[in-house]
Amino acid sequence: MNLEIILHSGIATGSVLLFAAIGEIFAERSGILNLGVEGMMLLGAMAGFGTSLATDSAWVGLGVAILAGGLLSLAHGLVTIHFQADQVVSGLSLTFLGTGLALVLGEGLTGQTPPLLLDYNIPLLESIPFLGPALFKDHGLLVYAGYLFVPLSWFYINKTRPGLHLRAVGEKPAAADSVGVNVYGLRYLYVFVGGCLAGLAGAMISLSVAPGWYSSQTTSGQGWIAIALVIFAQWNPFRAALGGYLFGMLRRLILDLQGPKLLFGLVNPLYINSNYSFFLKMTPYVLTIIALIFGSRAIAKKRAGSPSALGIPYIRGERGQ
């Protein structure tokens, strides 16, 4: 067990989560709940991996993955925005759809070795003691992009004019509509953005962070954890990233706790019976529930939190709106 490795691994895994989570933040801020993230991530993972294999280029694979996630989310958008179907059920159906498509189309990809997204180091910064190698060495470009993406998305949502429109559409769509903001159009846009980012996150897994295609094990529920992160983060990109990195470190820690040695060469008491590892495997999910409890309580206390129009279809001219 090595603290530097835990941090490094945490950053890598966390980057995946933060992209998916911030994508969902965009969608939810516009008022659309997208529960299909897990399906979109898996589809993105498969699409990226498979396309890279077919075209011999990881970047093309990434592009296709982003598009795949986006297209799937547009289906969700159509059904929820125009058909005003229930957003929860639609999102769930997309999880099934995305997962099913990924499993069917991805048949035969296991064990293949397409070109992957390579790791790079950032000169100078990588020399910072302790933090340097963990944050700036041996990471895919997307991880570094994540460092910039977090503050940029926060800035966009909170300090720019289009960000204001985004928030308006999610809080008081009727008011936004009355001043000429295109509610339907913006919702489609941000649902699409969310889907693209979920697809990106998926491809990040299969092409960069944990390369390979392992059927549904490729994402093993990370899409759901990203959705939980959004609540925990109270729709704030910084908190989502922080939560993501912490979660990533936790996953690595759990993996290490299954090994023979602990910190400083101490023998790992948990290693005695390898079956105790099942309890360790539970931990991320238990912690997600705990994080959700704290997040929900904080939301209830602050009385602020979820976008007011989240989950409610906007129908122009509806009585009482």
Binding site: F83, V89, F96, G100, L105, E107, I231, I289
Partner: protein, 364 residues
Amino acid sequence: MAIRLKIEQRVEVPKWLPPATSVGSVVAAFILGGLVFKFVGGKPLQALSFFYQAVFGSWGVFSDTLVKATPLIIIGVACAIAFKMRLWNIGAEGQFYAGAFGASMVVLIPIIPLDSPKFVVIGLMMIMGMIFGGIWGFIPGYLKAKYKVNEIITTLMLNYIIINWNNFWIFDQWSDRGFQMTATFNRVAWLPRLADYAKEIKAFSGVTLHLGVIFGIVAAIVVWWIFRYSRWGYEIKLIGDNPNAAKYAGINISKNIILAMTFSGALAGLAGMSEISGVVHRLQESISPGYGFTGIIVAWLAKLNPFAIIPVSVLFAGLIVAGREIQPAGLSFLLQGIILFMLISSDVLLRYKIRFVQVDEEKV
């Protein structure tokens, strides 16, 4: 004269429309799924014939289908109770596993001596299955009622948690000579099945249909009665339609959330008990090909009507049985996804209708 499309809100929904959308969704899913399947090199028409065999073929295969339908019926009904209240219990899979664990406890600890009468053992297994499934439903219900925690995520997380919990016991404490499964249950813990009566009725030899299917039918009748005639069913319906109105009407929403989730979990737990006692006869890592998730789709396709859940479960069971022969395995998942998606898309037809209107050119 020109003809224009006019979309207007419906005032009343014709009675034939909701079932038609369900049937239409399935047909559309078969077509689309078949196309995808063909794209990856499968033989859709052959797969379709497997499916036909599974449902309408020989009695032996049909019995297999009914056996697979049993947990689907029980879980479908479990989900219907929760969904009617707009409580999204995605944890039926986990509650199934929890119930299987509870029932296994009776046999593997054992809780009562194994020479007790069969109906006592089976009865206790049923109760333990429902208790453990109920607990696994209670937890997300309580969290939602008390802290407003999103039940979709909690139930999903609990799915992963219980599988690991079960695995610990299967791999470790209850492992059969180090294999990744428990020893086969003592026959007293086996649910009676038609094959047991092969001596009396020759036709029953090899027929694996077990008592669990009766659990399913009884559960469907009970939940149907709850929805149709009971006070609780009315309250569930009201909360599901408008929680604010329910609160205004004096209904205790927290209590009902907990009650509905626990009840739903208990039923799913019963399905778990039925599966290990009637089919698998041991506790092992994999006891469900995703019954908990398919059950969700079954409930939606049946529009939460407990009686409709029975034939829909048979349909999906046929898909599972046929799916055994079909590669790739993800196809049934894909089909379920398309069916659900088509279903909710078609819901729009229940609210709006399209009319063709003749427009006089001159008037415009």
